[in-house]
C-alpha cells in the first residue's frame, strides 16, 4: 500500500513537472520592467509638437536609460571593440562625426553616408538618410551589423554582453531579469537616444522671452523664414520629408537615396531633410558630407543646384541671396546651437 502510494505521488509529480516545463518553455520573454525602477519623463520643450509614442511600450526608467547609455559607449558592440556607437556620434559634435565627410568603420573602411547628429529623435518617424528604418528601436541594428561600421552579428553582441559580468545586473535592474536579448538591448538604447532632446539654443531662449536676437540674427531669421522654412520649419527645423537638393551624383558612392527603399524612380536622389539645429556643430554637410562649411551649402543653393527630373520644385531656380543676406542667415543659424545639450552630463560616457 505504502509503496503504491509513493509511486502514485511520484508519477503525479512527474506529470506535474512535465506540464510545468511545457507551460514555461514556450513563454516568450517580453521586456518587462525591473522592480523598483525610477521612472523618467521625456521633457518636451515649449513649442515642440507631441513626440512619437516611442515609449508607450518601453517605459522610460533611469535604469533603462543608464543601460542604454553604457551600451551606446560600449566598444564590445563592434568587431574589434574600436567602434562603439559613440565613435561616429560624438557628443561635442551634437552626436555627429566632426570634420569627417564619411565616418570610419571596421577594418579601415569608410561608412556610406555622413553620420547625422542625434537629437530630437523622438520626433522622427523614419531614420537613415533614405528613411529605410521605421522605428528608433531597430535603427541600431544597421550600424551594428554593417560590415563597414561595427561589423558584428546581433548574436555575437548578445554573447559578449552575457559574458561581461557588468551587464546581467544592469539588464535585471532595467527589465526585471538578468536575461539579455536583443529586444531589451534595443529598448535600452532607444531610451537613451530618445531622451536626447535639444531645445535650449539661443533661438529657444529668444522664443521663450529669455534672450533677444542680435540685429544680424534677427535679419537672418527673417531670411530663414522667407527662404528656408518650407523644408526646415521650426521648431524641429526639418519637415522630415525627402528631397533632391540638386547635388551632382558622386560616381564612386552612386547613392540613389530614397529610391533604394521605395523603388520609385521619382525618389531618385532624394534624401531626408536634416534638422538645422546644432548645424554649426555637425560639419561637414550633405548626405555624403561633401560641403565643409555652411557657407558652401548656402552657395550650393544660390548657384549650384543641378536640375534633373526629381530636383525639388522649390529649388529649381536656386535660392537667390545676396552676400549680406548669407552672412545674416549664417548668424541666425549659429543661434540654433544648443550649448547645454553638447555638454549635458546625462549623455556623456559613463566610463
Amino acid at each position: 500500500m505504502r509503496r503504491t502510494s509513493t509511486i502514485l505521488i511520484l508519477s503525479l509529480l512527474l506529470i506535474f513537472s512535465e506540464m510545468l516545463m511545457e507551460a514555461c518553455k514556450k513563454t516568450d520573454s517580453v521586456a518587462g520592467q525591473g522592480i523598483g525602477t525610477t521612472p523618467l519623463q521625456l521633457k518636451v520643450p515649449q513649442g515642440f509638437p507631441p513626440p512619437q509614442p516611442l515609449f508607450a511600450d518601453n517605459p522610460l526608467t533611469q535604469e533603462g536609460f543608464e543601460l542604454g547609455r553604457r551600451l551606446f559607449y560600449e566598444g564590445k558592440l563592434s568587431r574589434d571593440s574600436n567602434f562603439p556607437c559613440a565613435s561616429c556620434h560624438q557628443q561635442f559634435a551634437a552626436f555627429s562625426t566632426l570634420d569627417h565627410p564619411l565616418s570610419h568603420g571596421f577594418n579601415n573602411q569608410f561608412t556610406r553616408r555622413n553620420a547625422p547628429g542625434l537629437f530630437n529623435l523622438a520626433w522622427q518617424s523614419s531614420f537613415q538618410w533614405d528613411g529605410g528604418v521605421n522605428h528608433l528601436e531597430v535603427q541600431p541594428l544597421n550600424p551594428i551589423t554593417s560590415s563597414n561600421e561595427m561589423a558584428m552579428t546581433i548574436q555575437e553582441v548578445l554573447d559578449r554582453l552575457k559574458n561581461d559580468t557588468r551587464y546581467p545586473p544592469m539588464f535585471k535592474a532595467a527589465f526585471g531579469t538578468e536575461e539579455i536579448n536583443s529586444q531589451k538591448m534595443l529598448k535600452a538604447l532607444s531610451q537613451f537616444m530618445g531622451m536626447m532632446v535639444s531645445g535650449n539654443a539661443k533661438f529657444d531662449l529668444v522664443k521663450r522671452g529669455q534672450a533677444t536676437f542680435t540685429i544680424a540674427e534677427q535679419s537672418g531669421y527673417a531670411i530663414f523664414k522667407n527662404k528656408c522654412a518650407t523644408c526646415h520649419p521650426e521648431p524641429l527645423f526639418t519637415d522630415n520629408s525627402f528631397r533632391n537638393t540638386g547635388l551632382a551624383v558622386d560616381p564612386v558612392l552612386n547613392d540613389s537615396g530614397r529610391m533604394s527603399i521605395t523603388k520609385d524612380p521619382m525618389d531618385y536622389l532624394k534624401f531626408k531633410v536634416p534638422s538645422l539645429r546644432n548645424i554649426y556643430k555637425t560639419q561637414p554637410y550633405g548626405h555624403d558630407g561633401r560641403f565643409y562649411s555652411i557657407g558652401a551649402v548656402i552657395d550650393h543653393y544660390r548657384t549650384g543646384v543641378i536640375n534633373t527630373p526629381t530636383t525639388d520644385p522649390k529649388l529649381r531656380n536656386g535660392i537667390p541671396m545676396t552676400d549680406e543676406e548669407k552672412l545674416d542667415l549664417s548668424s541666425f543659424l549659429r543661434s540654433l546651437t544648443d550649448t547645454t545639450f553638447i555638454v549635458d552630463k546625462r549623455f556623456t560616457n559613463p566610463n
Partner: protein
C-alpha cells in the same frame, strides 16, 4: 494510504503544489474551453522529406540543393462554414528547416467543430512597424531587414548549377509588409476527404502539413532559378514568390 496521512507528506505535497503554482506565472496549460492542436510541418521535395544540401530537380528540370529554408507562420485559425471559428493567441512561429524542433508546435484553440485550417505565411504589418520584438521575431533569427525595416516572411537559399550568381548560389529573401508590396499570404486548407473534426479538451489533435518546396519555383507563377537567382528586396518579383509560397501547403493527415 499511510503516506498521505503522514504530516510530512502533506507538507511536502503542499510545498510542491505551491512551488508549481508560483514558479511559472505565465502558465500556458489549457484554458477552459480550449484544447491543443499539434502542428507538424513536413518540408518535402519531389514527394520525399526535404533534406538540406541534398540534390533535387525542380519542375523546370533545374537541379538545386537547399541550404536554408525558414518561414513565418502566424494567425492560425480553425473554422467551419457555420461560423465556428477559433484563432490562436500566439502571434508567430518561425519554422526553420535546420532546426527540426521548430517544425512542431502546439496551438491552443477552442473546442469547436471545424473543417478547415487557415494561417498567414508571414508577419502582420503591425509587428513590422512597432520596434524591437522578441521570441520568434527576434532579429537574431536572421529574418529581419535592418536597412529597410521589415521581416523576411520566407527565405529559401541554396545552390543550383543554372544560377548565374557567384558560387552558383540562389537566395530568395521574400518580404515587404504593406500596400502594394505586402508579401503576407493567407492560406486556407481543407482536410483529406473533405472531413471535419471536433476539437475536445480531452482529445487533442495532430495536424500534419506537407510543405512542397517544388512549388516555390512553379505554382501560381513560373519562376525558374535561371531567370532570377537572387531576390532580396520588396517589389513585384517578391510578390510573385509570395503567391507561390502560398501554394506550398497541404494538410496530409489529421490524427487523433
Amino acid at each position: 494510504m499511510d503516506i498521505l496521512r503522514s504530516r510530512s507528506s502533506k507538507v511536502l505535497l503542499l510545498a510542491t503544489s505551491l512551488f508549481l503554482a508560483l514558479s511559472c506565472k505565465k502558465d500556458k496549460s489549457l484554458e477552459t474551453g480550449k484544447s491543443r492542436v499539434s502542428f507538424r510541418f513536413e518540408n518535402s521535395a519531389q514527394g520525399i522529406p526535404l533534406q538540406l544540401e541534398k540534390k533535387y530537380t525542380n519542375p523546370f528540370g533545374e537541379d538545386y540543393t537547399v541550404t536554408t529554408l525558414k518561414y513565418h507562420i502566424s494567425d492560425i485559425t480553425i473554422s467551419d462554414s457555420s461560423k465556428n471559428i477559433s484563432r490562436e493567441k500566439t502571434c508567430c512561429h518561425l519554422l526553420d528547416a535546420s532546426d527540426s524542433t521548430s517544425l512542431h508546435f502546439d496551438a491552443q484553440l477552442d473546442e469547436i467543430s471545424f473543417d478547415r485550417v487557415s494561417f498567414i505565411i508571414g508577419v502582420d504589418s503591425l509587428y513590422n512597424v512597432s520596434g524591437a520584438q522578441t521570441g520568434a521575431l527576434d532579429p537574431v533569427h536572421g529574418m529581419f531587414w535592418t536597412w529597410n525595416t521589415g521581416y523576411i516572411m520566407a527565405k529559401l537559399e541554396g545552390e543550383s548549377s543554372v544560377s548565374s550568381a557567384p558560387v552558383s548560389r540562389f537566395q530568395y529573401h521574400i518580404g515587404g509588409y504593406a500596400g502594394s508590396v505586402a508579401t503576407q499570404r493567407k492560406v486556407t486548407l481543407t482536410f483529406p476527404g473533405g472531413r471535419s473534426y471536433s476539437l475536445k479538451a480531452d482529445q487533442p489533435l495532430t495536424m500534419i502539413i506537407d510543405v512542397n518546396i517544388s512549388k516555390w519555383f512553379r505554382s501560381a507563377h513560373d519562376l525558374p532559378i535561371a531567370s532570377q537567382p537572387l531576390v532580396m528586396t520588396p517589389g513585384p518579383l517578391a510578390m510573385q514568390y509570395a503567391d507561390n509560397y502560398a501554394c506550398l501547403f497541404t494538410v496530409k493527415e489529421v490524427q487523433p
